[in-house]
C-alpha cells in the first residue's frame, strides 16, 4: 500500500520557483516573507502532534532556515510535502538537542530562549527558567506530554480525554501531575483513586 502511494507521487526534477536561486539567504527571505510552504502553520501543528513545548515562532524560524539550506544544497525531492515535514521534524530535533545541550552545560540563555509567551505569560514562568522548564517537560515520556496537551493546552473535556486515551482517571491524573511538576507546579500525590469519580467512558460501537 505504502509503495503504491509512493509510486503515485509524480517524480520532481526541479525545485518550485520560490525555492530556486541557489543562495540560502535569498531563499530564506522569500520563505519567511510569504511562507509558500506554510511552514508557520505546519510547524505549530507538528508541535501539537508531538506534544512538544517549543515556542512556535522559534520552530518556524528554524524550519525556514532548514528548508532554505536544503533547497540550496540538495537535489529536488520527489514529494515536496514529505520533504517539508522531514525538515520540520529535523528543526524540532535540532532545537530539542540544542536546548538540552545548553541546559546541561549551564550556558546562559540567549534572547530567543528567554522568550516563550506560553510559559512566561500563561504559566507565569520567569524568562530565565523557560529553557530549564521546557527541557524538563520535553524529556518526559510522550504519554505524559500528550495528557498535558489534550487536557490543558487543547482544553478538551476530561471525559473525552479519558475515552480517547490509553489511561484511566488515575493514570491521566498521574501523567498530568508529572507534567505540572516539570513545569514547577508540584501537585500533592493522589490520596485515593479517581476512577469512581471519573469512570472511563465506553466507546460507542461504530
Amino acid at each position: 500500500m505504502a509503495r503504491e502511494e509512493t509510486a503515485a507521487v509524480p517524480p520532481r526534477s526541479h525545485w518550485p520557483s520560490f525555492l530556486r536561486g541557489g543562495e540560502r539567504g535569498a531563499i530564506f527571505a522569500r520563505l519567511s516573507e510569504s511562507d509558500p510552504l506554510r511552514l508557520g502553520e505546519r510547524s505549530a501543528r507538528r508541535l501539537r502532534e508531538r506534544w512538544l513545548l517549543i515556542d512556535p515562532d522559534r520552530a518556524h524560524a528554524r524550519a525556514v532556515a532548514l528548508c532554505a539550506d536544503g533547497a540550496a544544497s540538495e537535489e529536488p525531492p520527489r514529494d515536496l510535502a514529505a520533504w517539508t515535514l522531514e525538515k520540520i521534524d529535523l528543526a524540532l530535533e535540532q532545537l530539542l538537542r540544542t536546548d538540552e545541550e545548553n541546559e546541561r552545560n549551564a550556558e546562559p540563555p540567549g534572547a530567543e530562549e528567554l522568550s516563550f509567551p506560553l510559559l512566561t505569560n500563561s504559566l507565569m514562568i520567569t524568562p530565565e527558567q523557560v529553557r530549564r522548564v521546557a527541557v524538563a517537560f520535553n524529556a518526559l515520556e510522550p504519554l505524559s506530554r500528550r495528557a498535558f496537551f489534550e487536557l490543558l493546552v487543547e482544553g478538551r473535556d476530561v471525559l473525552e480525554v479519558l475515552e480517547q486515551g490509553p489511561w484511566d482517571a488515575d493514570g491521566l491524573h498521574d501523567h498530568v501531575t508529572r507534567c505540572l511538576g516539570s513545569l514547577g507546579y508540584p501537585v500533592p500525590p493522589r490520596q485515593a483513586s479517581l476512577n469512581t469519580r471519573f469512570p472511563k467512558p465506553r466507546k460507542e460501537p461504530q
Binding site: 516573507e33 511562507d35 528554524r62 532554505a68 545541550e101 540567549g110 482544553g155
Partner: protein, 294 residues
C-alpha cells in the same frame, strides 16, 4: 427595565438536555486559553527579523557540516570495521559517492574549507575517529559522542568503555541506547569480561528492533552458553520472536570466528548448555548456534 424574553419551550427543553448530558458537544467545546499559542493563522506570512534569520541559518549550517563530518566518520570506519557483526560488504557501497557529491555541493555554496581537508585526501579508515571528534566539536550531540566512543582504537579500550558508560547512564531508552549497550557488550567481550558483556547485550535486546535486536539477542545467547547459564539462555530464547533469520545468518561467520578462538572445553560447555534449553520460537537462532558449536 426590559421584560425578560420568553424562551421557546422546545428550545428550553433542548438546552436543558444539552446541559444535563456530560457528553454533549456544547460541553466538549475546547477552551482556548492556552491553545492559541499553538494556533497558526496569525503567523502565516509573518516576516522573521534579520537577527533571527542569521542565527538560525548559522545553526543550520553548523548542523549540516556536523552531519557531513559524522557521516564521513562512519564511511571511513566501514572501510575496515573492527568489532562489528555486520560484514563490511553488507554495507552500502554507494554511500561514499553520495557523501562526496553532498560535500562538494556545500563547498560550492561557500561552506568552510574544513570539508576540503576531508574531501581531498579521501575518507581513509585511519581518520574515522578524528572525523567523529570534528563532528562533536562542530555540534555536540549524543550521536557524535557515540561515534567518538565507538571509533576509538582497541588500544584505547578503557577510554572507550568510560565514554560509553557515561553516555549510557543518561540516555533514554531507544535505538541509540540500544547501540550503546551493544557496543559496550562488544568492548567488554573483547576485554574478556564475558559476564558483564552478556548482561549488556541482554539489556540491549528490547531497546529497539531490527538488526541490532537480533545481534544483541544472538550475542547474549552465545555468551550465556559459554557461561553455562541455562536459565539465561532459556529466558533469552523465550524473548525471541521478532528476529530476522537473514540478519542472524549474516552474523554467523563472525560469531564462528570468535567461537573458534575459544578453548575446546568452553565450546563443549556452550554446546551442552544450548542442548538443555528448549524453544519453539527461536529455532533459527538455536540451529545457527548449534552449527557454530559443532
Amino acid at each position: 427595565m426590559k421584560p425578560v424574553p420568553e424562551i421557546d419551550p422546545e428550545l428550553h427543553g433542548l438546552l436543558d438536555e444539552i446541559v444535563r448530558d456530560p457528553r454533549s458537544a456544547l460541553r466538549l467545546t475546547p477552551r482556548r486559553a492556552l491553545r492559541h499559542w499553538f494556533d497558526t493563522d496569525e503567523r502565516v506570512g509573518k516576516p522573521i527579523d534579520a537577527t533571527t534569520a542569521e542565527r538560525h541559518l548559522l545553526a543550520v549550517h553548523r548542523e549540516a557540516l556536523a552531519k557531513l563530518l559524522l557521516d564521513a566518520a562512519w564511511i571511513a570506519y566501514w572501510k575496515a570495521p573492527v568489532l562489528s557483526y555486520l560484514p563490511a560488504e553488507r554495507h552500502d557501497g554507494d554511500e561514499e559517492a553520495r557523501w562526496n557529491r553532498a560535500a562538494a555541493r556545500r563547498v560550492e555554496l561557500g561552506d568552510p574549507g574544513v570539508l576540503l581537508t576531508v574531501i581531498e585526501p579521501g575518507l581513509t579508515h585511519a581518520r574515522a575517529h578524528t572525523l567523529a571528534c570534528a563532528a562533536l566539536a562542530t555540534v555536540p550531540s549524543d550521536d557524535a559522542r557515540y561515534a567518538v566512543a565507538t571509533l576509538l582504537p582497541r588500544s584505547e579500550q578503557g577510554e572507550s568503555l568510560r565514554a560509553l558508560r557515561s553516555l549510557q547512564a543518561r540516555l533514554k531508552p531507544g535505538e541509540l541506547a540500544q547501540r550503546v549497550r551493544n557496543t559496550l557488550g562488544k568492548r567488554l567481550c573483547a576485554a574478556g569480561t564475558l559476564e558483564e558483556a552478556c548482561d549488556e547485550y541482554a539489556q540491549a535486546v528490547d531497546l529497539g528492533e531490527g538488526y541490532m535486536r537480533t545481534a544483541s539477542l544472538l550475542s547474549t545467547l552465545n555468551l550465556g552458553c559459554f557461561l553455562g547459564d541455562v536459565q539465561h539462555v532459556q529466558r533469552m530464547l523465550d524473548r525471541a520472536g521478532r528476529e530476522l533469520a537473514e540478519d542472524a545468518v549474516a552474523m554467523g561467520p563472525l560469531l564462528a570466528t570468535w567461537v573458534s578462538s575459544r578453548p575446546p572445553l568452553e565450546v563443549q560447555r556452550a554446546r551442552s548448555t544450548l542442548a538443555q534449553a528448549r524453544t519453539t520460537k527461536a529455532e533459527v537462532l538455536q540451529v545457527l548456534l548449534r552449527q557454530i558449536y559443532s
